[in-house]
Amino acid sequence: MRARACLAATLALVAAAGAHAAIEASGSTTLRIERYGLRGDPRAVPWAHTGTHGYQDYSLRLQAQPDAARRWSLDTSGVMNGSDYRHRARGLTAEWFNFRYEDGGAALPYRVELGDQRARFSPLTLDRRLQAARLELQPSGGGDTGHSLVWLAGREQTDWRDGVDRGNRFHGASWLVQDPSLGRYALNVVHQEAGERGDDTDRGRLVTSLAAVRDFVLWERQDLTAEAEWARLDGRAVSDGPDHDDGLRLQLRAVDRSLPLDYQLRYRRHGAGFAPLGTTVERDSRGLEANAGWRFPLGVGLRGRYDRHLARASDQQLQSEGYGLSFELPQTLGWVEWIDNSWDLSRRFRSDAWGVIDSRATEARWSIRAAGAGGSATRLAVSWVGVDDHSAGDASRERRLALSHARTFDLGFIEVAATPGVDYRVRDGLGSSAVLNPTLRLDAARGAHQLGMRLDYRTLDPAVAADREDYGLLLDYRYRMAQHTIGLEYEQLGRAPEDDRTTEAWRAGLFWRYQFDTILGIGQ
């Protein structure tokens, strides 16, 4: 029902806004049919559903500019679904519908947006994808200062199907002032109500924030961008929490004009009752992040970082503190020009006030990339991770080595790229196990034809269970002809535990894609 309403709205809006304008239309549709098969233990394969699955995606964008001060666009996409791997529901589902119209020639320039959209006021008030109606006015006050007034009402929902839970609701306004010399300032007010999954006693909450962004020069040599936001939430956001609380975030980015130095600082503090719905704010928490980089001659880079995070600050006080140092050495200081080196060292401490958590982790990584003749490249990554859990008296040590080599060559008239590689990981102590994973990837292309192949073999040696061998084969062929692409895929997975009860699963797929980009010329 809602998908049909979207279609009807589309036609009506295009008819209303598109008169006397050439309409640019672009989009695509992809039909995909897959079959999954299994022999052996269904609990040992990653595909939970066997049999035939198919779906057809569509996307369409229409846009036009009737004159120099008016334009509109319409975006819609969705799926006709018959697959358990694509969408939770069968049938037609519109996943995105957005209509946008703007008129800069009106006495009060305005923009209207209906449907799915990125609703963004600020990180502490509203920053979500919503199904909403939005009106923006940009009154001209003369001079360089720009004003933007936004009113918005909408709901958090990811598609237009009936019968799904109604998401959180938002209703708010934002006033933004932007001046080239004074910066960017905003006053945001958002009323929020929990959706059907929320608490029945939820009567909504009001979040108000003041935010500012300003560029300035420090000591006539450092270009800085400072950003600050303070927000207050009124209304009980947590059942046993206070009926109002506040949040704060500060951010600073700097680049030095004369020295090869840049740095960033971020701080945030959210009260125990500060839980605005339309954000990713973690209530009752504090956070600090800092990093600084210095670029030496010959491209050598050094960057240090520090972060500290406190969650459940008012009771358990879960604390995570980390610092690290990374070092980049392109062309090995000029000694070996075809090798780039990088190192990274980090430590992290975790603890809480109850003594349940008390651990320390240390990690060291070294990677090199060596460029060879004919565009070939070799990558080697070595890492070591040590975790000491003092609260449980456990410890683990993990070592990893990953090596790959990519080489391109001509095989007759076919261009081939071959990438053999191996990944070896071993963990001692808590959760000890070992994984050896050699792979081979081949990509071949000629004209409109592309063929890819990947071979994957993995041995697992877990301490708590029987040894196991996994293997995988992936074949991927594509043929492109003008606006059409046809693809064939085949994937086979096998699993052989130590007791020889082998399980095999396979997936065979076929897809057809049609893409277009044209001028319709309606109304001309």
């Binding site: 672009s26 008016r70 996409s77 936001e229 980390g322 890492s383 699993r495």
Partner: protein, 150 residues
């Protein structure tokens, strides 16, 4: 992704730019503040290939290479992934859904796009009982793609 040259690719914060909203001029309203050009959708193939690269990076413990610099709690997230995941954990992509180009900014020789893509996947690892464990994920990723435009 090579048929359209990607200059840089990154998985950006789930809440978009993580900053105060920007002033977006309305077309024709003020000659001193020209409106950005209409969106030009990013090719599907480019986005699909990048989604699989992200999954490979996650499985190879190399997410550092694709995670945007401004991702909230970036260092903590990367450390947790390195230090807490089961040794054989990997991310499998089950389907890549429709793709929506959200915004674009001009670059000296191309454009930078933010794209929303629906991804169904699952995290796979061996549990303490030796059985395969599957954790399904259904997410909307925001991906930043820079293209060189002729």
């Amino acid at each position: 992704m090579r048929w359209l040259v990607a200059l840089a690719l990154a998985l950006v914060p789930p809440t978009y730019a993580g900053s105060l909203r920007e002033f977006e001029p309305i077309v024709g309203a003020d000659p001193q503040r020209p409106a950005p050009p209409p969106l030009s959708p990013v090719p599907l193939t480019l986005v699909e290939r990048f989604v699989h690269e992200v999954a490979d990076a996650w499985s190879g413990r190399d997410l550092d290479a694709v995670l945007a610099d401004e991702f909230p709690d970036r260092a903590r997230l990367l450390d947790e992934l390195q230090q807490s995941l089961p040794l054989d954990a990997r991310l499998r992509i089950l389907s890549v859904g429709t793709v929506q180009t959200l915004s674009q900014q001009p670059l000296p020789d191309g454009r930078l796009s933010e794209v929303l893509v629906r991804v169904r996947g699952q995290i796979e690892f061996t549990g303490a009982d030796g059985q395969l464990q599957l954790l399904p994920t259904h997410q909307e990723w925001v991906v930043r793609i820079a293209q060189r435009v002729p």
